[in-house]
Each structure stands twice: as structure tokens, then as C-alpha cells.
Symmetry: none
Subunit: 217 residues, 2 copies
Amino acid sequence: MSEYKSSIMLVDDHPLLRKGLKQLLALEDELQVIAEASSGAEAIPLAVELDPDLIILDLNMQGMDGIATLKKMRDEGVTSRIVMLTVSDADEDVVNAISNGADGYLLKDSDPELLLEQIKRSLTGKMVLSEEITQVLATALRRPAVKTSAELNSLTNREHEILSFIAKGLSNKLIARELTISDGTVKVHVKHLLKKLGLRSRVEAAVWMVNQQAAKT
Amino acid sequence: MSEYKSSIMLVDDHPLLRKGLKQLLALEDELQVIAEASSGAEAIPLAVELDPDLIILDLNMQGMDGIATLKKMRDEGVTSRIVMLTVSDADEDVVNAISNGADGYLLKDSDPELLLEQIKRSLTGKMVLSEEITQVLATALRRPAVKTSAELNSLTNREHEILSFIAKGLSNKLIARELTISDGTVKVHVKHLLKKLGLRSRVEAAVWMVNQQAAKT
DNA sequence: TTGGGAGTACCTATTAAGTGGTAATTAGTA
DNA sequence: TACTAATTACCACTTAATAGGTACTCCCAA
């Protein structure tokens, strides 16, 4: 092995998990954690500035989620290897991550030894996927009927936000109050989101969305 | 402080998180992790045998989840303090955990220092809750809307039938056509079922029902 | 045999939701 | 710079949904 130390950046909104991960990485002399971030917003400028060899990125973060962060980083010209580390083995997440330029997709509940092994393999330029993921990916690719994520992605942030309120059963008036905008504006967003999703009422939207969320578990 | 070392057991199916947590607890001399488990099934006999001072229990585990594990442990006579550590701040989870004998409910994304502080406080016999949780708990208790199958059973056959159409996103008019009755009659049933379930709109009903169905899995 | 729940239907009144426009602002892009 | 997408707001209009009644039929149990 060379004496070059690989620089690694951790992005995860769980401090505990960062701790565990850091400890794991510390087992290898050639791995060096040079930065940590607890959110996408925080991570992006850091990534641009430091351009580490590897970025380990959590998928499920509050605020900007992992996929959005990944996209933004690639947009900003970050060329680091980026590996997603997550609890979710949902089809769309995997597919989304890979197709948006992730170099790997690992599960948090993997055996730590294995995880470390794969992180090192990733640094050699290989695409790394957790066991379970390989299977998921294969079946996901076999049926390209993944209209779900595609259609969800066609929504703007605001529309998506409002959809999730609808999926909680809120009325336009209540949503308006939550977001401090007029209920007329909420109606506009609802109108647009219904059109984009090809649905005929907020009830259909609520049902669709709740099923969507349930499927992710 | 006394010289007695508190015995702690960790139950979480994420090895990484266990690592982080162990490292955190190692900062305090009087805390000693005497056992780890990666599942409820594994944890229960261990808890019975070791009867540690504190059990830190993950809520979202594969197989037997945290609540089930908690219940079973209490059933088996485990008297350890049990603190839930989780990412979920869902009302029901919190209420469920507390009412099933948990002595605390902490969030994984809390600041580690704070977490350690609260774990120590828990060992002195105090109920510990993360900041965010206090709020959730308060609002959850304010509305004792713990409706489940009991309230589903209070519906007549027709009402139930119509509820499931609502849960598919159908309008009153379409439901009427399906059942070959007038849409005015459908409205009557909807009116009754909303009242019985204590819901404010068909959207709430749809969301509730779909979640109900999803939970059955 | 009478009372009540369930299911049906209709009526009125009010509120919520959805549609189709116009338009201003801002941020980002060609 | 001109263009575009996103977000916001307002207006007018139509349809859907909800709440409160009355009322008739059927069936089952007291």
C-alpha cells in the first residue's frame, strides 16, 4: 500500500453515528477524516473547498436530503467519490442515488468490518453496494416502471411540501396557516400538483402519497 | 459521586450506532457497557439474565421492534431502567413507549453531550425526554384520540364499505355509482362515519384508513 | 307489537375544493 | 439582457363536501 492518506468527509445529521463511523475509520491508518457536516447545506461548501477523496453521505437527513445534497455537489463540480450510507433499501432511493452520481450505496446496519472493507474498496475506484442492495437494484432495473420517484421529482419543493400536508389530512386553509401564505396560493399549488401527478382530487393525492410513504418502510 | 459503576446494555441493530454510543459512554468512568444486542430476540434473555441498571433500546429495529421488545422485557420481569433511543418523534411511538414502561425517550440526532447528560440523569431515576419530545407528548395528551379497531367496529357495514371507497380516493358521486344508491345517501353515510371516527373531512378519513391498512402488515 | 338501528332518499344552507385567468417578484439560465 | 421557472396573490366561477333536518322501509329484539 502507498503511504498516501485518503481524506474523508462525513455528512450525517446524527452525531452519534458520525462518532461510530469515525471510530471505525480510525482503525485504518491510511484513512483520515478531514471534515464533518451535519446537514447538506453545511456539507456542500465544505465539499467544494476541501474536495476530499471520499464523501460518506447520509440519505435521510432533515432539511436538504441526501439525494438533493448529492445532486448539488455534483452540480458544483465536486469530483470526490461519494458513497451513500443509509438505512433505506427502498428501490427508488437506490436508483436515484446511483443515477445521480453516487459511487456506492451502503447500509448502516451492515457489519462494521464489511463496511470498512467496502469503504476502502470504494477508494480504489470501485462501485460498492451492500449485499442487499445488489438484489434490490437488479429487481428494480428489471421493471423500469418506477414512475413513482419520477413523478414525485417533477414536483417543486413547495408542491411537495404541500402534498405531504395533504397526506396528513390538512385542508387548504390549515396548510395556508402552517406555511403563512394565503389559501388561494395553496389552491394554486394543489392545482399544479394534481395536474403533474395526473390525479383528480386531494383525496386521491392523499391516498397515493400515504401508500407511497408506507411502501418505503 | 459514588464509585459504583452503572451497568448498561445497548440494543440496536446498527452496529455503527452502537459503536458511537459506546464511545460516548466510555467518556464517563462510572458507566460500563456490559452487553450489546442487535435485536429484540437477542436482547430479552440477556436482559433477564444480566438485569443491568440501564437498557438503551432502539425503537426501529427489524424483526421485533423496540416497543414489542420493551413490553416483553417488562413482562419477563426486567426492572432495569429502559430508555428508548430513536429517530422517530411520531406521537404514537412516544406515547406507546412511555405507556409501556419506558423510562425515557431520546432522539438519536440530539447533541451527544446532551445525550450523555440525560443518560446519566436517567440513572438517577429521572424520566428523561428529548426537548422535542416534551412538546410532542404534551400535544399528544391533549387529544386522547387513540382510535383503532374499536372505532372501526363501531361503523355499520355500509359505513365501513364507504370508508374503504374513500380510502381509494373516490368521490361521493363515484361511490354512489359503485353501490347504485344516490349520492345524497352516500353523503349521509359519510357524515355518520366522520362523526363516529371523530374526523373532520374525508381526506382525514382516507389518510387514517390507509395508514390503518398499512399498519396491518 | 312496539321501539330502534340500519339503510335509503330528499331538502336547505354553508363551507371547501377545484378551474381558469392575470400578474408581480425573484432567482437562475440562455 | 431576455427568458423561464417558481412562488406568491387575487378574482370569478363551478362543483364537491359537510351539517342539520324529516321521513319512509325493513328487520330484529324486547
